[in-house]
């Protein structure tokens, strides 16, 4: 019995790191420009398809295609910003919600059109297999994904705290007007936040594709989880999203284990409601 619980906690922890990575782009874009990207999960889906097709067409393992896909997703993020987001920066919030929602529907439509609704899976990757850690069986893909997520998080935090561009990003998130007066080009920072935000969710997508089915609607559930993570961590807080991701991962698996797996998602959503009602600023929000 204890073994099962330990096993459950381990898998919750591992998936929690991936949730954090899915959410970090969402919280970053929100922090920098006050826009919620409702299509965030769809970018995850797109990158999972990239990973799948790189494997099928070129025989490239997801771990090898990861750098290329990250770059592609970065480019897609920048393009999305200039085409869809820039025109509505100063628009009413309703328009902003509808535009990112429109992006969600658009990307799903493209995926359904190109690849139909079939479930696809990369059969075997470098990360496949299990390892036995003191009696706890852990899937290697999950472990690789978790480690990848932690590394990626480390790079993001280093970037934000130690580089000029990263600090400029944080400055824009802090106070747009002041940042503008300091000579920071906020338009470029907005574009950059989309680039980085979509690149990070792209990395999460590639890591997920080593152990998760790919289908056009795969983004939906992850996007909702990312909302919960972002709200729990505090909208705009990068560190908060990391802690929140772990908490959400644990809540999901533990409630699934203790109560019923079919309800686990409900507890995650209920957690969102509890957070925004009781502590709307989240764990680390201002």
């Amino acid at each position: 019995m204890e073994g099962v619980l330990a096993q459950t906690l381990a898998s919750g922890l591992l998936i929690g790191f991936v949730y954090a990575l899915v959410a970090v782009g969402l919280t970053m874009i929100f922090g920098v420009m006050d826009i919620v990207n409702f299509a965030h999960g769809e970018y995850l889906m797109i990158s999972m398809y990239f990973s799948y097709w790189f494997f099928i067409l070129f025989g490239m393992d997801p771990l090898y295609s990861l750098p290329a896909i990250t770059l592609i997703m970065f480019g897609i993020g920048i393009i999305t910003y200039y085409i869809a987001i820039r025109p509505i920066i100063n628009a009413p919030m309703l328009s902003q919600i509808f535009v990112t929602f429109g992006l969600l529907i658009f990307l799903r439509g493209v995926a359904q059109f190109l690849w139909k609704v079939d479930y696809r899976m990369i059969p075997e990757t470098l990360a496949s297999g299990n390892i036995n850690l003191a009696g706890i069986y852990i899937g290697r893909p999950q472990l690789v994904a978790a480690v990848g997520a932690i590394l990626c998080y480390g790079v993001i935090l280093w970037f934000l705290k130690n580089t000029k561009t990263g600090m400029a990003l944080e400055a824009v998130a802090e106070d747009k007007e002041a940042a503008r007066l300091m000579g920071i080009n906020s338009n470029r920072m907005f574009a950059l936040s989309w680039g980085i935000g979509i690149a990070t969710v792209g990395i999460a997508g590639v890591l997920l594709s080593t152990f998760f089915y790919v289908f056009p609607e795969v983004g939906g559930a992850f996007c909702l989880i990312a909302f919960v993570v972002v709200a729990l961590g505090g909208f705009g807080s990068v560190v908060g999203a990391f802690l929140a991701g772990i908490i959400v991962g644990l809540v999901e698996v533990v409630s699934g284990y203790l109560i019923d797996p079919s309800f686990k998602f409900m507890f995650v959503l209920a957690l969102y409601l509890a957070v925004v009602f009781i502590r709307p600023q989240g764990l680390m929000g201002k």
Binding site: P92, L94, Q96, V99, L103, F106, G109, A111, F113
Partner: protein
Amino acid sequence: MKKGLVILLVFFAALVIYPFIFKNPFPRHLLIMIMLYGTMGIGWNIIGGYAGQVSFGNAAFFGVGAYTTAILLSKYGINPWIGMLLGCFFSSLVAVIVGYPCFRLRGHYFAIATIAVGEIVQILFTNWEYAGAAVGIYIPILEESFFNFQFHTTKLPYYYIVLAMLAFALLVCYAVEKSRLGYYFRAIKDDPEGARSLGINIQNYKLVAFILSAILTSVCGTFYAMYVLYIHPANTIDLWLSIHLCIIALIGGLGKIFGPVIGAFIFIPLTEFTRVYLGSEGQGIDLIIYALIIILLATLRPQGLWGIFAKSSS
């Protein structure tokens, strides 16, 4: 205004005559769906368009209306019209329970909270054995009559019932707009701080808007259950239904009485025709088309298409 009234009367006369011209099932079904979504779109418009609170959870009210009717009829033999009323009651109750805490949230937080609520309601119904769980509920077949809300030989009575619902929804919306309520709702949308300083109890008026929205949507849920005679969580409490309602209101014009009707007249034929003509080959094309419409409208014409029609008719 007088001219507007004439146009409205002509419009309704056309709707009344329509089934005498189009006798095939498909065009009638199409109009039934347009009017059903138009009614729900008006319901969404009251909370989303007038009061400015973007709800992605209205499908929950549709589901509560449909399930209340279906459960009462199939388990206790209770008349569907009573089911409709009780559905409105339960939907209002849900609106209050959900709205009371959620209306403290602003903007995105509220929109996401309504997604969470809608999904939670769907998960509950999907796992609720008594309500048929994921399989859903078949409505028992009764003798056809208006009293039983069932018609098998012809769909025509359904057509007129939903037409009456649409007229009712328009009246409700008109009454709201002409009363102080409409004024308060717009104040809440445009300037919540100002509204508060004028002594408007924002919370309560948002709740009123949400309840009206819930009732209009719940009635449609009952209608749908009796029209299709089979309901399950995926065809009633679906996030996509909620999204469609927003799209319909957006296309027509947020906060305009007639907006959702125009939206439904554009959106529903588009969905039906893309489904019929593109079939599985064109899977996804319909989504791409809506997406482009939504993005272009929200970017270039956030006030919807209503203005174009209004200009030519005023």
